[in-house]
């Protein structure tokens, strides 16, 4: 990855424009590494955005499956109403938030108390702390998912490959007790059990409730949660690029007009 980045930066020295959109199938190149294939995503640069329905389904998968072990500490319920995100209605967000119990306080008597969640509350965490999470998961710590799509090489492609990469270990593979074989995971041994089976999360919008769709939807949702301003960035980017191209053209004409004076002078004295 660092090598690709360096070469691209070196390429900038000579090229005027960088080609965006490179989902890297990382170590796959050296033959024995994890296999991560690039997928078609609605949010690919330069013009892509999130599909609202996909993010809503992805949230559903997160809430029903992932959240039983993984926290998302940078997300609040209010974020679910954001434009360029799942864009749930305010009423739906109120409802989703109120389904959880939040510890608040201290009150006037110095006591902590439980109350229903509000949109301003963070997503609840299944475990009180990392130690509790490890104790419940055979010593493995389920990482926070808020930034997961940016914290792994391959991004959403990697997450999709991981969630659909559970297989029977090949003959002769030395699988440690309590671990699972996964084609996308580095070293192919992952502590997380296969979380998805067909039909485990009901979909109400007509989308097929398959592992493939779950994996795609939740990967897109995690991309949004890692980069909630992605859509805005692409939109602002388009305007900025148009502005800069027009500006560059005007500057080119102005520069040429100014230097014409010099050329006229040279010719008037040498003709």
């Amino acid at each position: 990855m660092a090598m690709h980045r360096f070469l691209m930066a070196a390429g900038l020295l000579t090229s005027a424009f960088a080609v965006p959109g490179m989902a890297v199938a990382e170590e796959a190149a050296n033959g024995h590494g994890p296999v991560i294939e690039a997928q078609e995503w609605s949010f690919a640069p330069p013009f892509g955005g999130f599909k609202q329905g996909q993010l809503q389904r992805g949230y559903r998968v997160y809430k029903d499956i992932c959240a039983s072990c993984h926290s998302m500490r940078f997300l609040s319920f209010r974020n679910l109403a954001e434009v360029g995100g799942p864009h749930f209605s305010p009423a739906a967000v109120e409802m989703l938030a109120s389904q959880v119990q939040v510890t608040d306080g201290p009150d006037a008597k110095g006591e902590m108390f439980q109350r229903p969640g509000r949109p301003s509350d963070r997503f609840p965490s299944r475990f009180a702390n990392d130690e509790a999470a490890r104790a419940a998961n055979n010593g493995a710590l389920p990482p926070d998912l808020s930034l997961m799509a940016k914290a792994r090489a391959g991004g959403a492609d990697y997450l999709y490959a991981l969630l659909t990469g559970y297989q029977q270990a090949p003959a002769g593979f030395d699988l440690t007790q309590g671990m699972q074989y996964n084609t996308a995971f580095a070293g192919h041994q992952i502590a997380m059990p296969n979380p998805l089976v067909d039909g485990i999360v009901p979909y109400t919008d007509g989308t097929e409730p398959t592992v493939d769709n779950y994996a795609k939807d939740v990967s897109a949702f995690l991309m949004w949660s890692a980069e909630p301003t992605l859509e805005e960035r692409h939109k602002v980017g388009a305007r900025v690029m148009i502005f800069l191209f027009v500006f560059a053209f005007i500057m080119f004409l102005a520069k040429r007009a100014v230097w014409e004076r010099l050329h006229r002078r040279d010719h008037s004295h040498t003709a």
Partner: protein, 430 residues
Amino acid sequence: MAHPSTYKPTSGFGKWIDTRLPFPRVVHDQFMVFPTPRNLNYWWTFGGILTFMLVLQMMTGIVLAMHYVPSADGAFDSVEKIMRDVNWGWLLRYAHAVGASMFFVAVFIHTFRGLYYGSYKAPREVLWILGVLILLLMIATAFMGYSLVWGQMSFWAVTVITNLFSSLDSLIPGLGTTLVEWIWGGFAVGGPTLNRLYSLHYLLPFVIAGVVILHIWALHVPGNNNPTGVDVKTERDTIPFHPYYSIKDGFAIVLFLIVFAALLFYVPNYLSHPDNYIPANPLQTPPHIVPEWYFLPFYAILRAIPSKLFGVIGMLGAIAVLFIVPWLDTSRIRSTSYRPIYKWFFWLFVITCIALGYLGAQAPDGWYLFFGRAFTIYYFAFFLLIMPIVGLIERPKKLPGSITQSVLGSQASKPPSPPPPGPDDREGLA
């Protein structure tokens, strides 16, 4: 170039201030009518681009500092708060992070341009040395800035780089360890380290700005070098900085901004490492600790040398050797365009720097290590052997008689013409 002042204050206030603080006179003489060689190509626009980038980094940085929390517990979360909750915070932060990369793209091109055209040769040695000093300060500033994210790669980069000082233990036992603990403000990289890096990261850009002013001052005494390396001989060889180069630099800045914006808006994380989106964890070392791309050539040199102490010396020496380049180059002429032998060594040196950058990202073993060592040897041989020797034995190509002749051919031998139209010349606009 030092030239008689042509500024004539017209207004009452203009005359009043001119005898007290002649700032308008300096602007007029140094940035409006300043005589500039007429043949500067687009490689000469990177000085203006760098000034623009320095200002942009300071402006985005100052606003980011209003929202950033410089503590081991708060740093990572405050960066995420900037990305999610601060209005336009994502734009500020990505502009600052991608801006650092673009700053280095520009400074590397600027440095290679100086090397190619012999811009360090007399009488521009001080100008060059100040430039190398700016490069050194930029490296320090960028390193400290990267640490502030306090992600895994930030934390471990700080650990690796600060630990380099412990190599001094092999000179005087205890010296390195003491120094490293003093830098850390403790027995490991932690909150105190982050706080001092933050303080210095805010300070150093202003030091850079100060040295930039000296750099421009040192430029304006001998004046610009130019692609022929031939000195300015007559007034005909020069044109006023404004409007000719102000408009050319302006155009170049807009082109540069197009590349910058493409990275910033479409692939803002492409030049950074995914591990830096994992909060710093002192108990878990990432499998590969790699610096930002602009440090990779130096990192490759560090790892090519077997001894830790000499590795550090080699890495620092790769920059330090630039300071003495004006005295290593024995060539009688400046521009590599007229040096048939040296030209090949120069381009091999450019390839070496790119190759070292590639190797800096690879694990240092097998062929990677072999080539890392080979290119490291060439890197230093280029300065310490090739520059002095080739300059002595080489017969340069025939230089043009003057800058004007290089632009206009033999027509330039015609009698001198009046000075070129300046900014106040209305007729020229017709």
